[in-house]
């Protein structure tokens, strides 16, 4: 014994992972059989056997990678449980939302309009470009620009939530995209104008299924879906309108006397209650989701409406603002000095103006949704904001990647904790039953049989349903861990008991007894360590099983409740053909990583079993 300890002592200083890697990839020189017998403890033989199996080692490596990823990444990819956005629903994976075409910049940008997840640009030649996630439904795609628009010379574009509007040089207005709710039904006057080109149209805008067109002589035309907004303009204001701002469900106008007015007949929205300081000296207005910003002659900005993400906290400007643009939850102001100032919601970094855009002397800025484009004096475009989602978003507009990472952490934690619980119960009860035998054994094994004869999934479901009704999400998670642990210990208990039966007759136990060592000490510090290596296989496989069971429970809706993600409940809604086919990213990634993890755990378990089994070691 002492010889063995002396020879292995210097090696212990090496860090265990390094040692494993060295052993896995650079095995020791072959020792002659006597030296080997002397040097290697059974545990070391197992480790050596295990690392001689390439598949098991690869599985271990992948599993460690997944585990590290799942436990480290949540520190960087934080999850806001309440987060969801109706405009970001079911987006395909990819970072292409700000990939504007090169030709647009080469030919000179004439106009850009930012829609919810796509953008439209038009160059100086009048060619229209669409980029980003332009698919509205399975059939309707904004990127399918009608031929008449391709042929026309377009000067202005406007991107709505599911439709787009373009203004040609001759004053013709084109609409395309979703037509079901009247998004493309131009008012009578504009239809006539498309034929005779009498009106001089100054500005077009598009919002949530409705659009506006403003003529040079102050006439405002609105059309689209009237379910969100009453599209009638007060007749006495017509002819005096200089500008218009559209929000998701309201609109206000800027009159030629410099005041902002509610131009509709209804005043239901907070946006239409224009504050005092926006009643005069306003030069430009811009709309956001539920708020409006007005730029005044002195270069200051006033924001009103329902502001939830700090849109109303206008920063102080170094020089007067000359242009204002609104996104979904933010505003961007261009100052006279060429500097850009952005404020409001900054979840997707839409307020972080890049350095080079600040320095280049921006002449125009285009904002909308979560993206911004700044055009500088050299004709270059600077874009910032939401690029897209690497794994897409789910049916509630939540980032699949963030949920995948945080859900993995949850699933693995629950799996690990429940394994620890079942290990504690199983080892203690199995140890007692195996060591003492007789009546203790009888009682413990009967209990184990009762527990294992209960149907697992249905029983776990009812326990979770009954115990989990009046508790917080966090408590419910602990309940799930305990349920899984408490219901699955019998198999480990049986294994430990069987091993105990064999071990308790061994010489070292007899010696310990003769020496008068306490029985509890014999069991738990003499025998159990010898048994643990055999239990390792069972524990590894139990970890996989616990993860599977947790995810199955969550999938059925009786595990960790939504919105807390786990790999199981992320797949809950995935059993319908629409999601399976059209929104494949909702299930493919989480299914893949979960599948790979489970396969790896099973391969590790198999590898350990082979490593422990002397039959396979070839001697």
């Amino acid at each position: 014994m002492s010889k063995e300890n002396a020879s292995s002592a210097p090696k212990k200083k090496e860090f265990f992972l390094l040692r494993w890697i060295r052993r896995a990839f650079f095995p020791n020189k072959e020792l002659d059989i006597y030296a080997e017998e002397q040097l290697q403890s059974p545990f070391r033989v197992v480790v050596k056997n295990f690392f001689s199996m390439p598949i098991a080692v690869a599985a271990l490596f992948i599993f460690i990678c997944v585990a590290l990823f799942v436990f480290i990444a949540p520190h960087y990819v934080t999850l806001d449980l309440g987060e969801q956005d109706s405009t970001l629903v079911s987006l395909a994976p990819g970072y292409d939302m700000m990939n504007y075409p090169r030709e647009l910049v080469e030919n000179g940008v004439a106009d850009i309009s930012v829609g919810p997840n796509y953008s439209i640009g038009v160059d100086q030649n009048g060619t229209v470009y669409v980029w980003g996630k332009s698919k509205v439904t399975k059939i309707i795609d904004i990127a399918d620009i009608p031929d008449e628009i391709r042929e026309a010379k377009i000067v202005q574009v406007a991107a709505g939530s599911d439709h787009a509007v373009a203004l040609a040089e001759d004053g013709t207005i084109y609409c395309w995209g979703n037509k079901r709710l009247g998004q493309t039904d131009l008012p009578f006057e504009l239809q006539a104008n498309n034929r005779n080109h009498r009106l001089a149209i100054l500005d077009i805008q598009a919002s949530n299924q409705f659009s506006s067109a403003l003529t040079e002589d102050g006439q405002l035309y609105l059309w689209g879906n009237t379910n969100f907004v009453d599209l009638d303009v007060r007749t006495q204001l017509q002819g005096h309108i200089k500008g218009v701002a559209l929000t998701m469900n309201a609109f206000v106008v800027l009159l030629d006397d410099g005041s902002v007015q509610n131009a509709g007949y209804t005043a239901s929205s907070t946006v239409t209650k224009v504050p005092e300081n926006a009643q005069s000296d306003v030069v430009a207005i811009a709309g956001s989701t539920n708020s409006v910003a007005a730029l005044k002659t002195d270069g200051s900005v006033v924001v009103w409406g329902a502001t939830t993400k700090g849109e109303n906290l206008v920063p102080t400007f170094d020089s007067p603002a000359v242009e204002i643009e609104g996104g979904r939850y933010h505003y961007v102001a261009r100052l006279a000095s060429g500097e850009l100032v952005a404020w409001g919601g900054n979840r997707y970094k839409q307020c972080e103006v890049p350095e080079e855009a600040q320095e280049c002397g921006v002449i125009r800025v285009f904002s909308g949704s979560f993206q911004n484009y700044a055009l500088d004096s050299e004709g270059k475009l600077h874009a910032w904001g939401l690029k897209g989602f690497i794994l897409g978003t789910d049916t509630l507009g939540r980032d699949v990647f963030a949920r995948l990472v945080n859900g993995g952490k949850m699933t693995m934690t629950i799996g690990a904790v429940s394994v620890i619980i079942q290990m504690i119960i199983g080892v203690i009860l199995g140890g007692l039953a195996g060591y003492f035998g007789g009546a203790v054994d009888m009682i413990i094994m009967r209990i184990a049989e009762v527990v294992s004869s209960m149907p697992f999934i249905p029983f776990a479901m009812i326990l979770s349903a009954v115990l989990g009704t009046k508790v917080t999400i966090e408590q419910r998670m602990y309940i799930i861990m305990v349920i899984l642990g408490v219901l699955s210990w019998p198999s480990l208990c049986r294994l430990v008991r069987a091993q105990m039966f064999a071990q308790r007759e061994m010489e070292y136990v007899v010696a310990a007894k003769t020496l008068g060592v306490k029985e509890s000490k014999i069991i738990f510090s003499q025998i159990i360590p010898n048994v643990m290596s055999v239990c390792l296989v069972s524990i590894t496989l139990a970890f996989g099983t616990s993860m599977l069971t947790e995810s199955t429970l969550s999938y059925l809706g009786f595990g960790v409740p939504l919105p807390t993600p786990t790999w199981g409940n992320m797949l809950t809604g995935a059993n319908n053909s629409l999601i399976i086919q059209s929104y494949w990213w909702n299930w493919v990634f989480v299914g893949a990583i979960f599948g790979i993890t489970c396969i790896c755990i099973n391969l590790i378990g198999d590898g350990l079993r082979d490593a422990l089994d002397p039959k396979t070691s070839g001697r």
């Binding site: 049989e449 199955t552 999938y555 059993n575 599948g595 396969i599």
Partner: protein, 339 residues
Amino acid sequence: MRKYLIKRFAYLVVVFFVVSLMMYAIYNLIPSDPALVQMEPLRKTLKPDEWTAQYLQLRTKLGLDQPLLVRYARWMGFMKDVDGTFSGLLQGNFGYSVSYKRPVVDIIGTPMLNTILLNFISTILTLAITIPLGIYCAVHARSAGDSAIQAGTVVGYSLPTYLVGILFIYIFAVLLRWLPTGGAKTPGSTYTGTREFLDRLYYMALPVLVLVFTGLAGMTRTVRAAMMDTLSQDYIRTARAKGLREKVVVYSHAWRNALLPVSTSIMGWMISVFTGGSLVIETTFSLNGTGRLYWSALNTTDYELVLAMQMFYTLVSLVGVLLTDLSYTLVDPRVRIDK
């Protein structure tokens, strides 16, 4: 043998009552008071002390004031119920479903038939495939075919059933459009006779496929391991040395002896499929089976139905364990139980 059977049966009965008592206790953790539900509308019309008196009277009438054990005994049918008759589980009164507004007995017939049909077909198919496959793998151990099948089985038994379900819907229903995504029959169809049966099989095909695939993986590994164990025995070498044909050695000498561990795991597997696997499958494919019934009953907090179903599941798994033990004696004459 008879003594053993009686002992086992008595044990089963005891365990069943222990589990049912536990279930009943858990069921009683739910804070629900039928008397309060009945009396709540009367709270405004009666004076407070009058109302309290009536409420307490109703509680006595419904037997709610009795201790848990008494209520359990009444529910089980050991004791006379409040109306003076035995009307518990043992007398065939499984309770009353709140969501279906019908006695539980009337509800569970059709789903149970569906589940049994689903499990029967998938079990037959799985066994028909897995046994030859496992034997093939064991006989040709470490060949290319064996390695491929081994890789497939690792994938098969690692993936959760619902994931396989989603994957198969994608492949067979969405991509290939061979099979329907879910449901029990063609909507609006009024088929009869053979046509109806075929239609049902058509709708059951995908769930069966998923169950067979997931079952195949674990079972093939078991059969392979058992066969490899047996094939390494000395008597197999002797049989080969005698010059017996390989077929006789494999199927007559080895397979019979390998059947013992296999039969145990077959029973265990069938129980887990019947209780857990088909539950997931039925919810995934919206099949009207016991699993889905149980799931929807839990979701609608229809606890009398849940309790009855739970008892059914417990009985199934207990009988399964008993059958496993008995199957030892059937397949292996070495196991004698005269104790």
